[in-house]
Symmetry: C2
Subunit: 332 residues, 2 copies
Amino acid sequence: MKSLEVVLARPVADMPVAADFHVVERETDAVAQGQLLVRVLDLSLDPYIGSRLRGRHLGGAAPTVGGRLPGECVAQVLESKAEGFAPGDIVAGEVGWSEYGVLDAGKARKLDPRAEPSAHLSVLGMPGLTAWAGVTQLAKVGSGDIFTVDAAAGPVGGVAGQLARLLGAKAYGIAGGAEKCALVRDVYGFDDCFDYRVEGWTDRVAEALPEGQTVHFENVGASVLTPMLQRLRVGGRIVLCGLAEHYQNSTPATLPVGTVIGKRAHVHGLVVYDFYPRWAEWIELATPWVLSGQLKVVEDAVQGLDKAAAHFERLMRGQNQGKALVKIAARA
Amino acid sequence: MKSLEVVLARPVADMPVAADFHVVERETDAVAQGQLLVRVLDLSLDPYIGSRLRGRHLGGAAPTVGGRLPGECVAQVLESKAEGFAPGDIVAGEVGWSEYGVLDAGKARKLDPRAEPSAHLSVLGMPGLTAWAGVTQLAKVGSGDIFTVDAAAGPVGGVAGQLARLLGAKAYGIAGGAEKCALVRDVYGFDDCFDYRVEGWTDRVAEALPEGQTVHFENVGASVLTPMLQRLRVGGRIVLCGLAEHYQNSTPATLPVGTVIGKRAHVHGLVVYDFYPRWAEWIELATPWVLSGQLKVVEDAVQGLDKAAAHFERLMRGQNQGKALVKIAARA
């Protein structure tokens, strides 16, 4: 079957831009025993792809020019040669940046069809699982906690703060720009949000949280982590999840050991892959909240694979408002 | 009562040396209600005093020239104006670098007289409590753990490794010089010890622990922490306790955030003061091990207050072999 696919037009050495990609037409692979032919509904664009493209991510090697790009998708099964899957089923898996594809059934997750398929790329997907792992398994957030998170308009930060509030904590976001902050406050319902592009933003944090926060969830890097570590309450917890601002450059983010000691901080490194075996647990917990509207992620979507490259550049520039997605086809 | 006392002869800006101190003779303060007049038996010399002298330690401000120096002591009560204390009692408290002194009873701890008084400055004292807090309360070391610790010939590291072994772990030390390593192996009974002064010492660690360690306890600073973080097993724990190599200089020790994430490390800052309310618990646990010889700290002692300054310089240079002490008087 003919399928449009986005591939690299040239190697990526620095921040990926739209011109690094182009669209080709290919024949899909034959469907072998244990495999599924699927039609992609939505493609997820995520910050980690930026470092994957440069071979600097522990999730795998850099894709070759013309090779398949990493990308989680929700898709609908067209043909199944695997037990437990039937045409029409909605699945999640790494098909790539393409219209159609062949998935090993062992690497596909069959999805609960009650929620919108695209929710399985955000709140019920890897970003939501990441937030759950950090909030509940590492920081063990609960009633009485003061929770801060950056990239709060993004799907990880947005779910983390909403989840912290559902567990009884107060949640404060940090995001870039008034529009993102409005989303965090008004749509995600955080207690407040601070715009790190406004000079003196850390003074505003200090006014709002004079005694500091008990938990900080880090998605960005040193420019937020350093001041937020300074404001951490003694005995507080830090989840180190992402380093978006360092993915494109070579300046490593560091933590001052003396401050970690002085704060008696508990610092936890988070890699979401470790929690894949527990994905069903999160979906079970979160699906009712998603269906009731208590847990939301705004989508920042474009229609069509030809828009994917520019949309990815927008994500890399931090211009997305919510979960970056490419909508490719509607559920049949 | 006349008392010899060691005080600063001049302000300390860099690594303290013997010439920064001199001995004076003073009259002890009058004993008020709620206080004890004591005779110091042993004075503890500890690395944190180096940063206290320069006003760079969270335990308190720098002492003035001629003022009382910080230092934990074991002492014998000569006169008591406080309930619960009688002449002859053995107590611990911060008397200073002096022969005699007056202690507030509320700041004195009455000691179990079964163990040698000086043991309450090492294995049963602040260094031992520090080791207990890191090993049992933060890293939660148990059977099957592979435990590494630096400054392993010192009282914190030495107790930490012995305690880890008593709890079922394997313990590996890192220390400077063949003599210290022999102490760690042969007297403290660690499974092995690595001499960081020998070039390629990290290769020796890699040979001995090909899969890395599950817990690392850090007392020194970046020169050991950085390679040991690289060798930490995925999901391992790090206790950040001391930064001896950074006390005398201004280069801050840092942890690379990307490596902490990649290792899914759990990093805990340790300040022993937080565990003072639980000191009795440690003494209860450790005293039988001390009396049976299962838990040892070798003492690096000199006799007489006039030797204190040179002995402190020796500690600051890392030349001590075991717990640095000044013996001042024998128990009556």
